[in-house]
């Protein structure tokens, strides 16, 4: 589904990713772990197409298409969802308006009919209920006045409504207490644990992986994957730390 080959990327002319290769097949959940500064967030932004993150070498294909040639909104319409480590507050734009517009823009890009207001609200309510976010909050301006945990729940509500093929989740577990972590983990499993979908979980800590069991774990250090393995690798990292493995 996603094929990253020898990816090099710079931010402000500074090389961050230095030859990263990774493949995700449908039905798989991959976790990328690594120390601070390894390039984890850069990878998520490069895949999402954020301006300022420049690919200097390598390729990324998504379902066979050149992902890097697509604008961010086209990547979304193609089925890619980027869960933000720091979801942005947008005063003056309501969540529901934003999400309905986002969903219908994607549907339009795919040649599908727009969802009516009523049909959309039904979908939105189901997802909000599943993640313990009230409809009241969904009507408020995007992330404004939300706690850190509420912002992350909102990311998952958005993911549920948009129902993507591939989710890149950047430190979705950061800033969550143990109850919120469980809710988020269950959300990821419910929405994304399907034979035709894939997830790339980017995380610093192992604890989210207690709730979302990865099929593969990779260690990212200094811009490259330095080690790959099964779920047991996450526990090994937790015990031994990154230092030994990255060396």
């Amino acid at each position: 589904m996603l094929k990253i080959e020898n990816l090099h990327a710079t931010v402000d002319d500074k090389p961050i990713l230095k030859g990263l290769t990774l493949s995700l097949n449908p039905g798989e959940i991959h976790a990328i772990m690594g120390p601070n500064g390894a390039g984890k967030s850069t990878l998520s932004y490069v895949l999402g197409g954020r301006p300022g993150y420049e690919v200097t070498e390598g390729s990324v294909t998504f379902d066979g298409a050149d992902l890097l040639a697509m604008a961010p909104h086209e990547r979304a319409a193609a089925g890619l969802f980027l869960g933000f480590q720091y979801p942005v507050e947008i005063p003056g734009v309501s969540n529901v308006q934003f999400l309905r517009e986002a969903l219908n823009a994607q549907r339009k890009q795919r040649g599908e009919e727009p969802l009516s207001g009523g049909a959309f609200l039904k979908v939105a309510k189901a997802q909000a209920d599943g993640l313990g976010l009230s409809m009241d909050m969904l009507k408020r301006p995007v992330n404004v006045g939300f706690s850190g945990g509420e912002k992350k729940r909102n990311e998952m509500v958005q993911m549920g409504i948009i129902d993507p093929k591939l989710a890149i989740l950047d430190e979705t577990d950061s800033g969550l207490d143990i109850d919120a972590l469980r809710v988020i983990g269950e959300g990821i499993n419910r929405i994304m644990r399907k034979p035709d979908k894939a997830v790339l979980l980017i995380t610093h800590y192992q604890r989210l992986l207690d709730y979302v069991r990865p099929d593969f774990v990779h260690v990212l250090a200094a811009g490259r994957i330095v080690r790959s393995g099964g779920p047991e690798l996450a526990h090994e990292l937790e015990r031994e730390g990154y230092g030994a493995l990255a060396a």
Partner: protein, 360 residues
């Protein structure tokens, strides 16, 4: 007749571009059929006046409490003084409320038109008036407003001329406890000069004047507002949002004057500008002149660009870049337009702003 216009060397006119006016003043009206049907927004209750090139179209007007003809208004203002002769008057006696929403539509078909207006509300009288400007040419208007004790006026102005120039001069005097709320939206293609002098002449008056000015292309919007607190216990709010795209310029000079006797004045001023391109200009000039010592005057002025992180966030969810920019721009002007109390007027303003953004 020679047209004497202020020079940009004068401080109050430094951001103005009046260069199109002499040619417009010399040109004739194009005339032709005028379709105003879509411009009425209120129900059946309110009075309506349709002016085409400054002349009343009687067949498509229903004056109600409005009088048309010679107007008791005069001004020393350089543009306002040109608006003499026939216009419209709303004079309401004590405790009278004008039914519904009063609507005045000004259609210009080229050339220039000058029109005076007078609004005089006696004690406890109230009215809501919306004026809409469309077409091409120079529409120059003078509006003199006097509000008696506890009188209330809601005034809304939709500046939607496709081209040409709209110049407005408002002069208002508020009596004890009177309230004047003025909201303007520049969402057309014409140049604009808005001048307002609002005086809180007696104790406890409330004045609000603000709105949003949206400019693109080579357009110039220019507002110069003076709110003068001459009596104690008054409150005033000036909330303006200026948006400039391409090589357009939107300028706001907003002044609050507090006289020595105007203790316990509560003034608030919020001026914010948004540049949609680096080649555009927003000028903000907040001014406070305070002679009383027991006064609360909050003010803020900022100019910025759209938040790149917010744009990427919207785009990453599937919203095309142009639409994402429109959504954030709309959000930027929202607090200037959402505060309009009358739902019909608020919806019309929102539709005007959305139309402007959709044309990007």
């Amino acid at each position: 007749m020679m047209l004497a216009l202020p020079s940009t060397r004068e401080e109050a006119w430094r951001w103005s571009d009046l260069s199109a006016l002499p040619a417009l003043a010399a040109a004739g009206h194009e005339g032709g059929p005028v379709d105003a049907d879509a411009l009425w927004i209120g129900g059946d209750e309110g009075a309506r006046l349709l002016f085409v090139d400054g002349r009343l179209d009687r067949d498509r007007s229903r004056p109600g409490p409005l009088l048309t003809g010679a107007v008791d208004a005069a001004s020393a203002h350089p543009l306002g003084r040109l608006a003499t002769g026939e216009g419209w008057t709303l004079a309401l006696g004590r405790d009278h409320a004008a039914p519904g929403l009063i609507e005045i539509v000004h259609v210009a078909t080229g050339g220039a038109s000058h029109l005076p207006a007078r609004i005089a509300l006696d004690e406890d009288a109230q009215a809501s008036i919306v004026e809409t400007f469309v077409g091409d040419g120079w529409a120059n208007r003078l509006t003199r407003i006097s509000l008696g004790k506890a009188a209330r006026l809601m005034r809304a102005v939709r500046l939607r001329q496709a081209s040409g120039f709209t110049s407005l001069r408002d002069e208002a005097e508020l009596g004890r406890g009177a309230s004047l709320v003025t909201t303007m939206l520049g969402a057309g293609g014409a140049g604009t000069r808005i001048d307002a002098a609002v005086t809180l002449a007696d104790a406890g008056a409330y004045a609000e004047i603000g709105g949003a000015l949206l400019a693109r292309g080579e357009q110039r919007h220019d507002a110069a507002i003076v709110v003068r607190h001459a009596a104690p216990g008054g409150s005033s709010r000036q909330l303006w949002r200026a948006v400039a795209d391409d090589s357009a310029a939107a300028s706001l000079a907003a002044r609050v004057e507090v006289a020595r006797d105007a203790q316990q004045t509560d003034g608030e001023q919020s001026l914010r500008g948004l540049l949609l391109k680096r080649s555009a200009t927003v000028n903000l000039k907040p001014e406070l002149e305070i002679f009383a010592d027991d006064v609360k005057c909050a003010h803020g002025a900022t100019v910025g660009e759209l938040d790149a992180r917010a744009l990427f966030y919207l785009e990453s969810r599937g919203i095309p870049p142009q639409r994402a920019r429109a959504m954030l721009t709309r959000a930027f002007v929202a607090d200037a337009l959402d505060r309009i109390g009358d739902e019909t007027v608020r919806d019309a303003f929102a539709a005007d702003a959305n139309r402007w953004l959709g044309e990007a």
